[in-house]
């Protein structure tokens, strides 16, 4: 993902904090967009916009933690950095278990938050590569004929061509043909690769 397209979304009701974060982020050549509330941010939210999200916890309207739940529901790929002046261990543990990228207490050092943002942007890129790969795999799986899919499902269960042939009432040779066509369509060379690719779309 091109770094120039990534955006650091900053959500804090405190104007001073917002301004200084925007200044800090843009000072190292990153793009920033600031919002005074999570509600405003969500009204414009686009999960296809690469970047990362920085949100304060205590805000009028949706809190940073409530925003996190919304983002989970939306399957947002952008990593979320939670910043707060009033954090406690319980809140931090919960937010991290729910998949926050980082939970930073105010006041933080400029360098710490910049390091964190840079790592979050890298994570966003990684997330998007993974999503693209999963989408491609889904497309490939969709291109299988129903017979090919049937054969592949049985291969994954560890069944031999002979057993598959018997179960489907077709010849060994036909099983082999379906199997090799399917593997070609999925671009895999071994059963191990096949299992891996099929598992990757389940998670």
């Amino acid at each position: 993902m091109n770094k120039d397209q990534q955006i650091v979304f900053i959500i804090d009701d405190d104007e001073d904090v917002r301004d200084s974060l925007v200044e800090l982020v843009t000072s190292i050549g990153l793009n920033a967009r600031a919002y005074e509330s999570a509600n405003k941010f969500l009204s414009e939210f686009d999960k296809n916009a690469p970047g990362c999200i920085l949100a304060d916890v205590r805000m009028p309207g949706l809190s940073g933690i409530e925003l996190q739940y919304k983002l989970i529901e939306l399957h947002a790929p952008q990593p979320l950095i939670i910043i707060t002046g009033h954090g406690d261990i319980t809140m931090a543990v919960q937010a991290m278990k729910d998949g926050a990228f980082e939970f930073l207490q105010k006041p933080f050092r400029d360098q710490d938050i910049l390091d964190c943002i840079i790592k979050a942007l890298e994570q966003d890129t990684t997330n998007r590569i993974k999503i693209t790969k999963q989408d491609e795999t889904q497309e490939r799986i969709k291109s299988l004929t129903s017979r090919e899919r049937e054969v592949i499902d049985k291969v994954i269960e560890g069944k031999s061509n002979k057993i598959i042939a018997r179960e489907l009432g077709i010849s060994n040779r036909t099983v082999e043909i379906h199997r090799s066509h399917a593997m070609e369509k999925l671009d895999v060379r071994s059963v191990t690769e096949l299992v891996k690719i099929m598992l990757s779309i389940q998670s």
Binding site: G87, D88, I89, T90, A92, V93, M96, K97, E102, F103, Q105
Partner: protein, 129 residues
């Protein structure tokens, strides 16, 4: 609380502090699981383990290591056994965040409250089930 699980795999404790170890052992007596304890990470690593543990419970501060480094090393070696880290009274938010980032399933503050503790252990066990 009601314990929803039947029999679970052993729970291993790696806790240096004797009092904490006793307290946790007593609480876990309410769970249908065998409990094994080790004083140090090294003792755990060199122990012969016949049955894969359902989860590990350890502390931030260990005699020969620390709980967070320990989890990190486990994950680097591809071991996915869930780990619960017990905090010390003086641990910060930052330590909690690092523990989860390192791959701990939960980070529990002291003083340990029986009900809360057992519920959280149960959640971790359910997930790994």
């Amino acid at each position: 609380m009601t314990w929803k699980l039947k029999k679970v795999a052993p729970i291993h404790l790696i806790i240096g502090d004797e009092n904490t170890c006793d307290q946790i052992t007593k609480l876990l007596a309410k769970i249908p699981a065998e409990v094994k304890s080790y004083e140090t990470a090294n003792a755990f690593l060199h122990a012969r383990i016949s049955e894969a543990p359902a989860c590990l419970i350890t502390e931030v501060k260990l005699g020969d290591s620390d709980g967070i480094t320990f989890v990190k090393q486990m994950r680097e070696h591809g071991l996915s056994t869930p780990v619960i880290i017990l905090a010390d009274g003086d641990n910060s938010v930052n330590t909690a965040v690092k523990a989860i980032q390192a791959g701990a399933s939960d980070f529990i503050e002291k003083p340990i409250i029986e009900r809360d503790f057992l519920e959280r252990v149960q959640k971790v066990l359910e997930k790994s089930d």
